[in-house]
Structure formats: C-alpha cells, structure tokens
Symmetry: C2
Subunit: 130 residues, 2 copies
Amino acid sequence: MDDCIFCKIINRQLPACIVAEAQKVIVFVSRHNDLLVVPKAHIKNIYDLDPETGNELMTELIKTATATKKGFESDGIYITQANDPAAGQDVFHLHFHVYPRWHHKAKNNVTRVGEQERRATMERVRNFYE
Amino acid sequence: MDDCIFCKIINRQLPACIVAEAQKVIVFVSRHNDLLVVPKAHIKNIYDLDPETGNELMTELIKTATATKKGFESDGIYITQANDPAAGQDVFHLHFHVYPRWHHKAKNNVTRVGEQERRATMERVRNFYE
C-alpha cells in the first residue's frame, strides 16, 4: 500500500536494518530496537492472515526468537502482536514484535534508538539466524 | 509431563473450558478469562517449537483471534507469548495468550474469574470458531 511504511521498507523505498527475508516474510529491526516479523503482502492484521503466509510467519518467528536470544544473550524473549488501535496497533500492516528480556529489568526499558544501534542489532541477530 | 498443568488439561486429568481442539493444538480459557492457544505436546517454549506444530498453532491462533473478537464484540485483540521467567513465563508449556481489548480501557482489567465466567467465555468464542 502506497502510504504504508512497512510496504516501503519491503519495496526498498525506505532504508531498514533487515535481518532476514523469506518468500513471504521479512524480519527487520524496529525503531525501539526490537525485532519485527512481517508478511511482505500488505495484510492489515491477524484476522486477514491466510494460513499459508501464517505458516511462514511462524517459522520465521521461531528463528527470530531463537536468534534474538542468542544474539543479545538475553534471559528471555517476549512476543506481542496487536490488532486494532484498542490493542495498541499503530502500523496497520501485521507485525509480530520479538523483544529480548532480562532478569535485570532496567535493561528492558529501550526507547527509540538510532541507526547505529539498529545496525548493531541487525548484525547481532543475523549471526544466529538459521 | 507429569507435573504440568497444561498437560493435565490436555489429558483430561484437570477440567478446563475447552473452545477447540485440532490435531496438535488445543484452545482453552485461562483463569484470567483470556484464551490460550497451546500445543498438545509438552513443548517448553518457542525455541523448541517445530515448524509443523507451529504451522497448526498459527492456524488456530488466527481462528482464536477472529472468534474472540466476534464473541466478545471487542474493539481489538492483543496477543502475547512469553519465553523464560525473565519474560514472564509462568507455565513452562508453550502458550499464546489471546486477549480481547477495548477502547474503554477499564474493560481490559480482568483479574481471576470463576468457572461460570470461563464457561461463558468458552461458549461466546466457540460460537464464532470456524
């Protein structure tokens, strides 16, 4: 979709720190330094997700969670997915967030990060992406 | 696993408000009145999830999200999945939470509910489970 920032990232009209790309799914670093697992087709939310794309999305979600834990050497991984503004959805292109989590909770408070941190995250996770 | 409460629910050793059951996945109501989408095999967390079970899990997750929104007539759906205690995992059998969400945020604050509310949720969601 023309005005969708995720579609622009997928079409390489906007730069992004891309960790991995499969046939129907892309994985990149968010502005808050977590990982986003996203269908390449402009699917608005989970109600509209077809099982075939969903299958690949789950496969990449497993890989992203595993690689994020290893790449960050984190103590855990938290996954969220929001549908509709009432649930906090802000970009209306389906996405799963993958957050590294630590016992030392202060480490979990990440606000917006710059290009350099995002590139470091991309490389960290990419190293363990299988 | 012997001491796992989700395994006991799956094996019908503990009662639960079961919404749906597929070959490898079960959906039931949690004690906080949200929906849980759970593999029947004792898979600890997402790092151990095989893609085949993951595929069915995603299919049931899509159905559960859609049926929960319709059944509760909610404004949105929020999905979470925690791995390891650092991320808030408390039952060590993989599960996705599916929460109905409202613009009127007070409606989102559900604490533990009793058998009657859980049965009502089961029926509400079941009616729209396709």
